[in-house]
């Protein structure tokens, strides 16, 4: 009864902390200053006056974008680990769920890498540290999905998601992509149910966020599948069934054959209609992906309006990730002296 009453006993400190962290997210004025930078050194100088503080102070001089990326990521990871180390159930499981998506990405990255005969050390350094797990580095011994499951993944929390993929024959590009999406589908549905069972404001906020995530994946899968050998039935199997599109929208999407048909499906949903209408491929237009990101940022900001719920943790990680993408985008534009598109970052606050 009334979980809000006792929420602060267990999670109040961390919620306060994460709300404090949120205040450090760069504002529009910061971005305006950042896009004026001439060199990466300028970028560093400005970032030093923000919440990032002296995170680049100990880096020797010719600065590269990847160093900035690493350091920003490191900062996020340190903050996340701090939260994770101080939390209690059910927040602990919730935070673990957040890391699962990074684990999926890492697994796929490693499998693809080994498929292309890259050395494992090089791949490991590219993995997101939030999604690292012990058996990760031994992933390249597996040559079939079944082996992957039996040898590597069976001990990880991803094991239950993987069961659907064991039947695949071998690991090629196509199958890897299918594995990724199947894993994601299972993961999203599981996370969705978990949040739903938590109930209260958490369910309210998180179900909305995860439903959007699921729908976004469904759209992207459909659009990306045009022109590949993926059959419509297979495609339908990859759609996560926890979004707003489920079930009618998904079955229509499964039948779609080109972009316009996808767009027609989106017409039925007010929020997605807007996104599709705003997107375009002409120069100056925003891409559909950016539109989705913008919508995500909106949702995430919205979740900070609710009290006594875990959505803020998820939102913080997502917003921080968006911020990293923004800074990297600006950094790349500055580094490559390609300033024409420097403004197409996605402002957060």
């Amino acid at each position: 009864m009334m979980p809000e009453l006792s929420f602060n006993i267990d999670h109040g400190y961390l919620e306060g902390l994460v709300r404090g962290f949120k205040c450090g997210i760069l504002k529009q004025t910061d971005y305006l200053n950042l896009v004026q930078c001439e060199t990466l050194e300028d970028l560093k100088l400005h970032l030093q006056s923000t919440d990032y503080g002296s995170f680049l102070a100990n880096e020797p001089s010719p600065l590269s974008v990847s160093v900035i990326d690493d350091k920003m990521r490191e900062k996020l990871v340190v903050e996340f680990q701090h939260l994770r180390n101080h939390c209690l159930e059910p927040l602990a499981t919730f935070l673990d769920y957040i890391t699962y998506s990074y684990m999926i990405d890492n697994i796929i990255l490693l499998i693809t890498g080994t498929l292309h005969q890259r050395p494992i050390n090089e791949l490991i350094s590219k993995c997101h540290p939030l999604g690292s797990f012990e058996q990760m580095e031994a992933i390249h011994i597996a040559s079939t999905p079944a082996e992957l499951y039996n040898a590597v993944l069976v001990d990880t929390p991803l094991a239950p998601y993987f069961i659907d993929c064991i039947s695949e024959q071998d690991l090629d590009e196509m199958n890897i992509e299918i594995i990724r999406n199947t894993l994601y589908k299972a993961y999203l549905e599981d996370f969705f149910n978990f949040c739903k069972n938590l109930g209260g404001a958490t369910a309210e906020v998180m179900c909305e966020a995860l439903a959007f995530e699921a729908d976004r994946r469904a759209f992207i899968i459909t659009i990306n599948s045009f022109g590949t050998e993926l059959s419509k039935e297979d495609r339908e199997k990859l759609y996560p069934c926890c979004g707003n599109l489920y079930p009618d929208g998904l079955s229509k999407l499964a039948q779609a054959e080109d972009y316009d048909q996808v767009r027609q499906v989106a017409e039925y949903y007010a929020s997605y209609k807007e996104l599709f209408e705003g997107a375009g491929t002409n120069p100056g237009d925003k891409t559909l992906e950016d539109k989705f990101f913008e919508h995500e940022v909106k949702l995430m900001k919205h979740s900070f309006m609710h009290q006594f719920q875990f959505g803020v943790f998820y939102s913080y990680v997502k917003l921080k990730e968006q911020e990293c993408r923004n800074i990297i985008w600006i950094g790349e534009c500055v580094a490559q002296r390609h300033r024409a598109k420097i403004d197409s970052y996605i402002p957060i606050f």
């Binding site: 012990e134 031994a138 390249h140 011994i141 040898a151 001990d155």
Partner: protein, 875 residues
């Protein structure tokens, strides 16, 4: 002394610095620490400013120094802190410094890379050594089991050691391959599980722990590792095992199969380790030499680099002149120190070798100057107490000098106990006496710095507590009989028979009191009386009212000084006078009654004394009941006087409320007419009406400085100095920046003034009543303190005194320890803290609300000392 009563007179100055002399001048000013620069380019980003490259170079140097410092700390070499304070080096020396650091860093990096490679090599060799040693035992065991199995026919196949059996049987038939390696110990369980799963149980793993932790060459941490050896069959399994090993970052080493080869190899390894050890020693020595040399200078280098950086930060706030020849700065500085600043500028110019002098030039402005109080180490603590509430408005009366006495005194009234006061005093005295040593230690503990920062406050609080404790005659809840008690029980009245009869006796003051009071403080007889609390309560309550009312009177009269200083006669007549009258009519009179009651009633008439509380209530109700028998009623004259006081007090309220706003409105209407007239005459004379009208000594045009300035600036905008408008805004023209000055003349808004005044009046009138009541906390806390210490004595110490026999000495030692600890923790620390907070509140709310605005902002001079104290996180 006057300097502490009001903040320093400040002036806004404009500095014209020749570009080549700017650096040295700012450096001199930084050493001086008396100038607060204003940022003239607030709209520029950090990286758009002029000296951003220099700052970047400084940051780079700092990074190198931090790197060196880290290395020095890693080796545990003490860093020499001579405490000397080198001047900021000249800009050209920066290149030398950079080169030095660059060289050192590269050298260090090279040494590190070398030693890392060597260490890695060393680690590999030691691991190999361990592998050879451990595998030797594996193989020997296998050999042993083998023989045992052969010698013991009863042993079934299952019971024979797995390795022995397999190694023998398969070793002959099929080739049984093996790999040996080393892995981090914490990874071992997962590694084993993975091996089992991936190879479907077709491998055999033996492992042994390496006892000594090894050094990780990259991070330098000590890590625990284990040796393992894996047996398998076939090439496929081999590649798979190798992959898993790679995945778990296990290092594999070649391990020969026959014992003799192994022995040979281990001999080779041993000699190589020996060689490496000597080389490692040499590298270590070299590194140590480099670091020791660096450690001697690193503090000085840090100071130098930070100074350079601070100077360039400051230069970034300056404007460039149109001709690019000179930099223009604006700063606040104390008027009294203008000469020193001039001298510093002169020194700076000389040092730079520039021929054109730097120019300091006073400007007049309507902006509120910062508040700057010159404090010494004693007054600083008290100033902090005041500033924590709000920084004084410019040139307003600073309560700090009064707080120095009243704060410890009010604290002591609540904390009156000679013993506890002595403990506090001695602790503070220790801090004060060992000030220098303690300061040098630079302890970072927050609690300690709080106590240490307030050491003089604590010292005075302790001293005053001893004084009030003496007055209360309290030392650890006991009393001292220093001057002889003034009460006695006469033998005729209290005979043995009477004493046997009862337990409690009432001493009648008419018979038992000698007639002259105990010379100083409370008569010790009261400590044995059961009605002690009733007596002290009455005494302490009255004292706290008297103290409170006098402090409030004092506060109100300080407001008179403020009004006079700011030339505000209206406030004197419309606020100060009614306030004083109001306060006197209500509570001044009460205090007079208190004294009257103390002085006029002897012990014989004690029964007929009037009740003050009832009397005060009746006074306001105009209700005087017929006195009961034996009581003296209120005389008619007193009735009339009291009535008069109440009426006057009530009349003061509308006086405070309406007089000022209406007078202002009248002045405003009249003033406007006059001003129109003035404008016609061409004489702008508006400053007497502006709210901020402190006596600003304006420099006349005949001042030499201005002549200089016309010469050096050759821009016309400074010439028309007589025009106040241009004066205020001219620096904007110079810099081309856009920040707008706040409009200087407030529009008169009658409703707003009225509302403000009514808030003020209500606050004051209600405040007088509630604040007087609030001063009763002096009594309440003092009562609580006295009671607590008495309870502690009776509940703890008295038990210790009750023992008899040979247990008694031990018991008393233990119980005394407990009592002492509780005294310090509860009575001195906890009670002290609470009394401190209450004293603070009495000052902030009850005292300062009478006169203190606290709307100023702090003067934060550009000073190297501050910047260096705060280390890296400056700005």
């Amino acid at each position: 002394m006057g300097s502490l009563l009001r903040s320093e007179e400040m002036t806004l100055c404009q500095l014209f610095l020749q570009s080549e002399a700017a650096y040295t001048c700012v450096s001199e000013l930084g050493e001086l620490g008396l100038v607060q620069f204003r940022d003239l380019n607030p709209d520029f980003n950090a990286f758009q400013r002029k000296f951003v490259n220099e700052i970047r170079r400084c940051e780079e140097m700092e990074r190198k120094l931090r790197f060196l410092e880290k290395e020095i700390k890693k080796d545990g070499i003490p860093m020499l802190d001579t405490g000397d304070n080198p001047d900021a080096p000249a800009p050209r020396e920066m290149i030398d410094l950079e080169a030095t650091f660059e060289k050192l860093e590269n050298e260090m990096k090279e040494v590190n890379a070398n030693s890392e490679a060597l260490k890695k090599n060393y680690l590999e060799l030691t691991e190999l050594k361990h592998i050879l040693r451990k595998t030797q035992t594996f193989f020997e065991e296998a050999e042993f089991h083998n023989r045992q199995a052969m010698h013991d026919p009863y042993l079934g196949e299952e019971t024979v050691g797995l390795l022995g059996e397999e190694a023998q049987q398969r070793g002959r038939g099929l080739r049984l391959g093996f790999v040996a390696g080393v892995i981090l110990r914490e990874k071992l369980p997962a590694f084993e599980r993975m091996l089992w799963r991936a190879c479907r149980g077709n491998v055999f793993l033996r492992q042994a722990e390496i006892d000594k932790p090894m050094e990780d060459p990259v991070s330098g941490d000590q890590v625990l590792k284990s040796v393992f050896i894996i047996f398998f069959q076939g090439d496929q399994l081999k590649s798979r095992v190798r992959k898993i090993c790679e995945g778990f970052r296990a290092t594999l080493y070649p391990c020969p199969e026959t014992p003799s080869e192994r022995r040979e190899m281990s001999l080779g390894v041993m000699t190589r380790i020996e060689d490496l050890n000597t080389v490692l020693g040499q590298t270590g020595d070299h590194r140590h030499r480099v670091l020791v040399a660096a450690a001697k200078n690193i503090k000085v280098w840090f100071i130098k680099v930070r100074k350079i950086k601070a100077i360039y930060h400051t230069l970034n706030m300056f404007n460039l002149d149109v001709t690019q020849k000179c930099l223009i700065a604006e700063c606040w500085c104390p008027c009294a120190d203008l000469d020193r600043i001039q001298q510093a500028l002169q020194r700076g110019t000389e040092r730079s070798g520039s021929s054109v002098p730097s120019i300091l030039n006073r400007m007049s402005t309507k902006q509120e100057p910062p508040t700057y109080n010159r404090n010494n180490k004693l007054t600083k603590g008290f100033q902090n107490l005041v500033d924590a509430y709000g920084v004084a408005s410019y040139r307003e009366i600073n309560p700090a000098p009064f707080t120095i006495i009243t704060f410890p005194f009010l604290f002591a009234v609540m904390f009156g106990d000679m013993g506890h006061g002595l403990i506090m005093f001695l602790f503070a005295l220790w801090m004060v006496v060992r000030e220098k040593q303690l300061q040098a230690k630079k302890i970072d503990n927050e609690i300690w710095t709080t106590f240490f920062g307030g050491r003089y406050i604590i010292l005075l609080m302790g001293a005053f507590s001893m004084y009030t404790g003496f007055i209360y005659n309290d030392i650890f809840s006991k009393s001292l009989n220093l001057f002889g008690c003034q009460w006695h029980a006469s033998n005729n009245e209290y005979t043995q028979a009477v004493l046997d009869h009862g337990k409690l006796f009432q001493l009648n003051p008419n018979g038992s009191y000698y007639g002259s009071p105990y010379p100083l403080g409370l008569d010790p007889i009261w400590s044995v009386a059961v009605n002690k609390i009733a007596f002290t309560n009455s005494l302490k309550m009255k004292t706290s009212i008297i103290l409170g009312v006098s402090q409030m009177f004092f506060g109100v009269s300080l407001s008179l000084l403020n009004h006079r200083y700011f030339k505000n006669p209206l406030n004197i007549f419309c606020e100060f006078i009614p306030q004083v009258i109001f306060l006197f009519c209500m509570f001044g009179y009460l205090c007079i009654l208190v004294f009257h009651k103390w002085v006029n009633y002897t012990s014989a008439e004690a029964g007929t004394a009037p009740s003050l509380l009832i009397g005060a209530i009746n006074m306001f109700l105009f209700h005087y009941p017929v006195p009961k028998d034996g009581q003296v009623g209120v005389s008619d004259g007193q009735k009339g006087f009291q009535g008069f006081l109440v009426v006057v007090a009530v009349l003061c309220v509308p006086w405070m409320l309406f007089a000022k706003p209406f007078l202002l409105r009248y002045q405003q209407r009249y003033g406007q007419k006059r001003r129109k007239f003035d404008v016609l005459l061409g004489d702008i004379n508006g400053e007497s009406e502006v709210a901020f009208a402190s006596p600003h000594t304006r420099y006349t045009e005949t001042d030499i400085q201005f002549k200089h300035q016309h010469l050096s600036v050759n821009s016309g905008d400074l010439i028309n100095h007589s025009d106040p408008e241009a004066e205020v805004t001219h620096h904007n023209d110079v810099g081309g920046s856009h920040h707008v000055e706040e409009e200087e003349e407030k529009v008169f808004d009658f409703p707003e003034v009225m509302i403000n005044q009514s808030i003020h009046t209500i606050e004051y009138c209600l405040g007088c009543i509630s604040h007087t009541a609030s001063y009763l906390r002096l009594w309440a806390l003092s009562l609580a303190h006295a009671q607590l210490s008495e309870v502690l004595w009776t509940m703890v110490m008295r038990i210790g005194l009750g023992f008899s026999g040979f247990v008694a000495p031990f018991a008393i030692v233990i119980i005394f320890a407990g009592w002492a600890c509780m005294t310090v923790v509860i009575l001195v620390l906890m009670e002290g803290l609470s009394a401190f907070l209450h004293a603070l509140r009495l000052h902030w709310v009850e005292f300062q609300s009478k006169f203190y605005k606290g709307e100023g902002y702090m003067f934060q001079p550009f000073s190297f000392e501050d910047i260096l104290d705060h280390g890296g996180e400056e700005k």
